[in-house]
């Protein structure tokens, strides 16, 4: 297959996934309980992963910031306020999504890809099932909800660990550290917008990689790798775009 043909087929498949996912989310016929099962896969099974990652990042961020400021001015009173602000609109949603892009993205691509190469997707089509609506839509809905839930959870863990780090290593009073005064509605809106965009993008990009799998187990391996790379890259690009949108439209350029 030439590159032009491959690109054309890929673009066609991607468009079909986006359209079918949008339509299927509104009126599709889903297997009973499948969205809940996927929410458990995406959410419950990522809890420890997100807690550890966001917890450590919260600790490192606060420690490094306090260390640098201590060397220059020694005034640590604003560290907490700025930490909370950047966690809400940037690090919380983006780092949670990056973690989900690897764990959930790989899972979706491997599961769907192995169904493609074993002809199970063709068998679904022969039973009158639209594969995108059956396989991608439940994962899409689960990801939309659970990315939000995990982001809130991850931010809470990061704040807790950051607060403890500031208190135990630099003796910053938690009451001073936990200053929400710098967190605006614009920050919350920007963070929320990112959560929705990431939650939607990860299953679509990973599902695209899975449904595009060809060959045997090697093809599934490639699809999984592609899903992780493409999902992570998509999160980064969306972060750049939405940070710009958020900065100028929601956060008033601040």
């Amino acid at each position: 297959m030439s590159r032009v043909e491959a690109f054309r087929d890929g673009a066609k498949l991607f468009r079909r996934i986006v359209v079918r996912t949008a339509v299927g989310s509104l009126r599709g016929r889903r297997p009973p309980g499948e969205v809940l099962r996927q929410m458990e896969q995406v959410g419950n099974r990522s809890v420890v992963f997100i807690a550890v990652t966001l917890g450590f990042i919260g600790m490192v961020l606060v420690f490094q910031t306090c260390l640098q400021i201590n060397r220059v001015t020694g005034d640590l009173s604003q560290v907490g306020a700025e930490f909370l602000k950047i966690l809400v609109h940037e690090f919380g949603p983006t780092l949670t999504a990056m973690m989900l892009a690897t764990r959930v993205g790989a899972g979706i691509a491997a599961e769907v890809g192995s169904m493609v190469v074993t002809e199970q997707v063709d068998a679904l089509r022969m039973c009158g099932v639209e594969p995108v609506e059956y396989l991608i839509v439940p994962r899409f809905l689960a990801s939309l909800v659970m990315t939000g839930v995990l982001t809130v959870f991850g931010v809470a863990v990061a704040i807790t660990m950051g607060t403890l780090t500031a208190y135990l290593t630099f003796h910053v009073n938690p009451r001073i550290f936990l200053d929400l005064g710098r967190v605006s509605l614009g920050d919350l809106a920007t963070g929320g917008l990112k959560v929705i965009a990431y939650g939607a993008a990860i299953p679509i990009v990973s599902g695209f990689a899975g449904l595009g799998a060809r060959g045997g187990s090697e093809g599934v391996g490639w699809a999984t790798t592609r899903a992780v790379i493409a999902s992570s890259f998509t999160v980064i690009v969306l972060d750049l775009v939405l940070s710009g949108v958020g900065l100028f439209l929601l956060q008033g350029g601040a």
Partner: protein, 239 residues
Amino acid sequence: MTRSFSGETVLAGIDLRVDRGETWGLVGPAASGKSVMLKTLCGLLPPDAGAVVVDGEDIAAATEERLMLVRARFGMLFQNNALFDFMTVGDNVAFPLVRRGGVEPKEIRARVSARLRAVGLAGTEDKFPSELSGGMRKRVGIARAVIARPDIVIYDEPTAGLDPVTTQKVYDLLARERDATGATVVVVSSDLDALLRFVPRVGMIYQGKLRYDGPAKKARDADDPVVRQFVRGDIEGPL
């Protein structure tokens, strides 16, 4: 119809007609395009050019929505069975009926039990495909293919990897299903002896072309030396 992959022609102008209620077999060397042809016939793969007419409707030009309705008239056994590995045997067999709708759960359960009994797998409803042997999985695939009583049934290698006794049992099963439903049947098989006993008419595909399409009994004495060598299994010849 024609169909190519990566610039390589797999189906190079196939012209074929299978009548309602007919049983037609397809043979050919490995990687000669048999499975591609089956998938094109049932609308899983669109042809690059040409038409695939099912009951007067050209499905080559049909939308995916329309194709879903047309495919509901088909039952298909895939080469590797393609059983849903996340479902039990009972759910696998019931799936076409569940998706079609309009049948009560009690009726579905009864029909699943009856189908599994017919293929010699009574009581396996709660097992998963991974717990079954190759022959058992094949028979579950057959049960799933025919449970919704489709007008057209496609069997892709129904006896691949099975021992001779199980092979004969499977063909007996296919014959009983065909006689009971009167469905149009298309079978691809590498087991020529068993296939030629099962189908009255057979075709042979080679290098993208249908080199033979005629009575199964006369395939061994076909004029085309390629067909003759393949069907007889001779070592010497053009193949």
